[in-house]
Symmetry: C2
Subunit: 223 residues, 2 copies
């Protein structure tokens, strides 16, 4: 039974940020809209591959390369730019604001820990009226490593000035919860995206259908 | 200008082995056949994520978990087993035998270096009459790490008893060529699968449309 966290570190892309408005942009540049999910899996795969090889490239560059590759090189730079420009106006999932309010009312502080850039994430929070809930936006760019190596979560703890047992990583990706768990954090997983928690990853401490569920369970945990 | 390799280390899944016959099995268990590509990206992503977190699970287990997750947990164990049983009878891509013959005639020896298990890869080679071309089947299971960390390629070199400059890694995945390149190997990439070499990865030394192209270029290189 985990204890109530002092702080939550939210994953951002797909956990807070919906990629759905990018789908019509795929169609606008002549790509199948159904490619959206595969593109996101692919860009995570390629970011992880670079990290495994000892290298690092930032989210926008890996995202663009994955898009060009899934289009088999048949996308001009304007088309790539048009799809990625969508990141500037992506909405929060409908459960985010309510979940953040629940955590704030329970005295649980919040940060974001993302594979994305600080600029994109800060812009997303501002654009969706969420900035006031979030103390800090932490990007993996600072440690030049995509999630989920231990050092990424340890860097976040260092930035937060908190020990692992005070922090809960909340994400919709099982691999992110797995990495955080291995770094000693409490973890919360919302099934909204994946529907099923892949058994190869260490189970999350808290499970919910959406972020509201997860926030309510975390807020109700004993100190 | 690279010199002619003494040996080629072939990636296996999608480079030599076609996953296409798994597609009807997706339909047979009620999954969209179009999920095949996404499933393979996803299982690579999850295998890499485990490696990044300092853990390891073998290919069949990660493949099964990725399948269950993409089915949102709505696949019973018989259905999962039915799809994965397809691995027992997968064909080689049509360019494989000719490419291997070209390399053999040029005095270039061959091994396989795969994220898959030795059993599956050895069975695939035997089933497709390719065993006589391949000196050794090397699995990442021995080093408990999915590609592409440097140590995976260094382990393969150790098993082959060759220095990096004598070996060319041949794959259809740019991330695999990138990792091999960072370990000092020569690399050959066939565009058959990806169509476009993602620019975030270090370019391969040799590029071809298929494995026959790559084999001919390698065989023609000066010693």
């Amino acid at each position: 039974m985990p204890s109530r966290p002092r702080a939550v570190a939210f994953d951002v892309v797909e956990t807070l940020m919906s990629l759905e408005p990018l789908r019509p942009r795929f169609a606008e540049v002549g790509l199948p809209p159904s490619l959206l999910e595969r593109w996101f899996d692919r860009l995570l795969r390629d970011g992880m591959a670079l990290t495994l090889a000892g290298d690092y490239e930032p989210f926008p560059k890996v995202a663009a390369a994955a898009l060009r590759t899934l289009a088999r090189g048949e996308l001009d730079e304007d088309a790539v730019a048009h799809v990625l420009a969508g990141f500037g106006e992506l909405p929060a999932h409908p459960d985010v604001e309510s979940a953040m309010r629940t955590l704030a009312e329970a005295g649980i502080s919040m940060v974001c820990l993302s594979n994305g850039t600080v600029e994109t994430i800060a812009g997303f929070l501002a654009h969706n009226g969420l900035s006031s809930y979030v103390d800090e936006v932490i990007s993996v760019a600072d440690v030049r490593s995509w999630k989920p190596p231990r050092r990424v979560y340890e860097y976040a703890l260092e930035r937060m000035g908190r020990p692992a047992y005070e922090v809960c990583l909340v994400a919709v990706h099982a691999f992110d919860c797995h990495g955080a768990k291995r770094a000693g954090l409490t973890t919360g997983w919302a099934s909204r995206l994946e529907g099923h928690y892949a058994e190869v990853f260490t189970p999350a401490d808290v499970l919910g259908r959406d972020l509201v569920d997860v926030a309510h369970i975390l807020a109700a945990l004993p100190r």
